[in-house]
């Protein structure tokens, strides 16, 4: 909360768009601001009404350098915007640095994301140190189409204004913490010696030589794949990783930081029947050139050299991988295959064809 706990004394607030940037079409600016207001009105009893000429509670403007509020902007990058806590006069106002490359998508700075953050200040929130929160001070891109207000922000704003009037209370995503014993994973892959653990719109990155685990947004590396990676594997020979997104029945090939040309492609190109809509987990055995795809309680085997599925598949996972029935994520490292199901991890020896160890899923994070 902002020092002194300032808040609006009424729930029906007014806003005015004082001017527009030349970097975007006016209709796109209007849409971004409307969407940003909805972020907060959908989790609280607050409403926002647009005014055109009158002084509004929240005046939104694009400003250049010194704009007479004792907080000059600094040109491109650096400080993107600021906003004032609830109150009279400047109170509640949002100032956007007109020298930024404002956009409606992932290039430059997404106006919706920045305005939504600033409106948090206009309503009385301070900065959060949760790196996944909207109120985290640093800019992080999220595809506006996939944006969901994180729980940290919902908790903050509802502590000031109370819950939404809707019968069903909204909930939001939480930021994964490496040492949370309840942490589960969507997908895991190795990548040039590191391990990448995918969860929602995040990626936990662990380098074997470093003790700490780095938390990043997937969008930091691949803006076109901002969330929901359900399976991933590394093809060491070709120095690429393949990523599968849930419910999209498509896959992407990534080389370094770049998505290979021509992707995404439908997973049927790999030989899956049309009935398969999503891949839960995958790993590639570099010694045999075989890739294993896990779908529900079955698995397929793909030959990377012949570029086709092997005959005789799918087979039941439980038939060939000990007591493992279903798989959330899997990867291969140093000759062993590590299967993840919920908070449990199984170390499988493919030579002996048996499980040799059972650990917590977070065992890789030196907790």
């Amino acid at each position: 909360f902002t020092t002194g706990n300032p808040k609006w004394k009424k729930n029906n607030l007014t806003y005015r768009i004082v001017n527009y940037t030349r970097k975007m079409r006016q209709t796109d600016v209007d849409a971004a601001i409307q969407k940003a207001l909805n972020v907060w009105s959908s989790v609280t009893p607050l409403t926002f009404q647009k005014t055109k000429d009158k002084i509004a509670d929240i005046m939104i403007s694009f400003e250049y350098r010194d704009h007479k509020d004792n907080s000059p902007f600094d040109g491109p990058d650096g400080q993107l915007a600021h906003a004032f806590q609830p109150g009279e006069g400047l109170g509640g106002d949002v100032h956007l640095d007109d020298e930024e490359a404002w956009t409606k998508d992932g290039r430059g700075y997404n106006l919706f994301i920045v305005v939504a953050h600033e409106l948090g200040h206009s309503l009385g929130l301070s900065h959060s140190n949760d790196p996944g929160a909207l109120m985290y001070p640093n800019y992080a891109y999220t595809d506006p189409k996939e944006f969901r207000l994180p729980q940290d922000d919902i908790d903050g704003i509802q502590a000031i204004y109370g819950q939404s009037n809707d019968a069903v209370q909204p909930t939001g995503p939480t930021t994964p913490q490496a040492c949370d014993p309840n942490l589960t994973f969507d997908a895991i892959t190795t990548l040039r010696g590191e391990m990448m653990f995918f969860k929602g719109r995040y990626m936990l990155r662990k380098h074997p030589e470093r003790s700490e685990t780095e938390l990043n947004f997937i969008s930091l590396f691949w803006p076109n794949l901002p969330s929901g990676i359900q399976a991933a594997y590394e093809n060491i020979e070709r120095d690429e990783i393949l990523l599968f997104k849930g419910n999209e029945d498509k896959y992407w090939v990534v080389r370094g930081y770049d998505i290979a040309y021509g992707y995404p492609k439908p997973i049927y190109r790999l030989g899956f029947p049309k009935t398969v809509k999503r891949v839960n987990a995958a790993y590639s055995d570099e010694t045999t050139g075989k890739t294993y795809f896990f779908v529900a309680d079955r698995y397929w085997r793909y030959d990377e050299n012949k570029k086709s599925m092997d005959h005789g598949y799918p087979r039941k996972i439980i038939q060939d991988f000990g007591k493992i029935g279903r798989v959330d994520a899997v990867f291969q490292k140093d000759g062993y295959v590590y299967f993840f199901h919920g908070t449990t991890q199984f170390q499988f020896d493919p030579r002996a064809k048996r499980i040799v160890n059972q650990m917590k899923s977070i065992s890789w994070f030196n907790c």
Binding site: F73, Q79, L80, L90
Partner: protein
């Protein structure tokens, strides 16, 4: 003589750290402490505050991770102290 590039970078880093802490951690502008100065170091204290907020290693020194964080685009509202 040409400026030693490393020295030039170091100078830029000190400027960045001071400006950042002035903008976001209420470091007084006329204080002008220097990073290599001994004794009570107000700047180092502010730096520690910033490092703690961002979950960085709290060293009070402008290490690589701290400088990287300071270079990221961000909201202009300070993290501490009242804005107005």
């Amino acid at each position: 003589f040409p400026v030693d590039p490393e020295k030039e970078d170091e100078g830029k880093n000190i400027d960045l750290v001071e400006t950042y802490l002035q903008n976001f951690y209420n470091l007084e502008k006329d204080h002008r402490p220097h990073l290599r100065k001994g004794g009570k170091n107000h700047l180092a204290e502010k730096l520690k505050e910033m490092q703690e907020f961002f979950g960085l290693q709290v060293t009070g020194k402008p290490d690589h991770d701290t400088l990287e964080m300071m270079n990221k685009p961000r909201c202009g509202v300070p993290d501490v102290e009242q804005y107005v």
